[in-house]
Amino acid sequence: MSSTRRIALTVNDQPYEAEVEPRLTLVDLLRGELGLTGTHVGCEHGVCGACTVLWNGRAVRSCIMLAVQADGGTIRTVEGLAREGTLHPIQQAFLEEHGLQCGFCTPGFLMSITELLERSPDPTDEEIKDTLGGQICRCTGYQQIVAAVRSAAAKLRAGAGAGGYG
């Protein structure tokens, strides 16, 4: 019982194939098998949001998604945000607005915010809070993160032609 499965998926524009046990979670595939340790493991039951990645463009908890469920899908992680040494505008905004302290939760926040701003370039306060409500941060008190989202949204709108980088 419990034979392994061959899966194929795209992670940060790179195709990957892996032979996995069905019980392997997506976050353990990313960190343990693919070496992408930017995605963090927190609560392991889908509550804290530290492990949030984009799956086919949507923010999901990679600790309560099995790697086999990602077969054929497209994953984006925090490692896919910066381009050639230049921070993504959301990362830059976190830096400027002090949107992080210890940084443990940050990769999850960045990915959830990426989904939000791709879908809603000028989000309402309600949309921002709805998105951030799914991510737990015990350092910042969230105010700077809200400021970072607003700043990132403005940067992305201003730099839409150049993809918003730099």
């Binding site: 019982m1 069905p22 019980r23 039951h45 799956w55 409500g133």
Partner: protein, 289 residues
């Protein structure tokens, strides 16, 4: 905290999926979005021999318009329903209920059918199904059958589905004319399971009296429950403040003993159910006017 070992199958058709359930009867679990099942696996509270993943079965992911309802495929993500312009326009109550389910990050993965079949007594979709008299279409070894919401939710985490049956689609009736709705809940933190919640629909006649009222309370028992005494108090009456107050009290009194746990006492839940019941009826009546 990692799942125990299990086998895994991703069938392409409902027929294959049912065969797998028959072959492993009692030892297989269906996997849809996994937002309840995978945490249970991680905590090793569930130990199925095999997971039968419905993700690759065609024909389970859709929002289909009908004359007086919306038919939603079991594997449709909750977020897809939330973001659907069709749902927002034709069924604002269904849209509103989605926004109370956990967080967007869970709704992106969690499915409509998964939540209904999981039947958590504090979950929104079962309460909504009961409020609207939704119909569940199930596929099993002897074909299809339709189960009404009143018969579907049996008890805590238990539905009328046989171990070899699969929920394939749910039909949510849209609201008739002069009908208002309400979806309310109280949770410690936004996105948590509700300590208690209330859903209501009220239809007013042309005199402003209640032609019909429906009140469902959730998070207060083994399943979501109808507050029938409160509904009867409103029948044929004008929903004024005094009557709504009485209806709320009746609702609080008629529910069985709610759960006491680390989040709230039974007494608190009962009181909260009464307050939310009154407010939900009031909001539904106001929207109907």
């Amino acid at each position: 905290m990692k799942p125990p070992r299990f086998d895994y199958a991703a069938p392409r058709t409902l027929g294959e999926a049912v065969s797998l359930l028959q072959q492993h009867e009692g030892e297989a679990k269906l996997l849809s979005g996994g937002q309840s099942l995978v945490p249970l696996l991680n905590m090793r509270l569930a130990r199925p021999a095999i997971l039968v993943d419905l993700a690759k079965v065609d024909g389970l992911d859709h929002v289909r318009e009908q004359d007086d309802g919306l038919a939603i495929g079991a594997m449709t993500r909750q977020r897809t329903v939330e973001l659907s312009p069709v749902v927002k326009a034709r069924h604002p109550m269904l849209h509103a209920a989605m926004l109370h389910i956990a967080h967007p990050q869970n709704r992106n993965q969690g499915t409509v059918g998964g939540s209904l079949a999981h039947a958590d007594p504090a979950a929104e979709l079962p309460a909504l199904a009961l409020t609207l008299d939704a119909e569940m279409r199930a596929f099993g070894p002897s074909g299809e059958r339709t189960i009404g919401a009143a018969d579907f939710f049996v008890t805590y985490l238990t539905t009328a589905l046989e171990p070899t049956e699969i929920l394939v689609e749910t039909r949510f009736p849209t609201l008739p004319a002069r009908t208002g709705w309400s979806v309310m809940e109280v949770a410690r933190r936004h996105g948590d399971f509700a300590l208690a919640g209330a859903m209501s629909t009220v239809t007013l006649d042309d005199q402003g009296r209640c032609a019909s009222a429906r009140l469902v309370l959730f998070g207060v028992g083994a399943t979501a429950v109808r507050a029938r005494k409160a509904e009867q108090l409103l029948a044929g009456e004008r929903p004024d403040a005094a009557l709504l107050e009485r209806a709320g009290r009746a609702a609080a009194e008629e529910i069985d003993e709610p759960l006491t746990d680390v989040h709230a006492s039974a007494e608190y839940r009962r009181d909260l159910a009464g307050v939310l019941g009154r407010r939900a009826l009031a909001e539904a009546a106001a929207r109907a006017a």
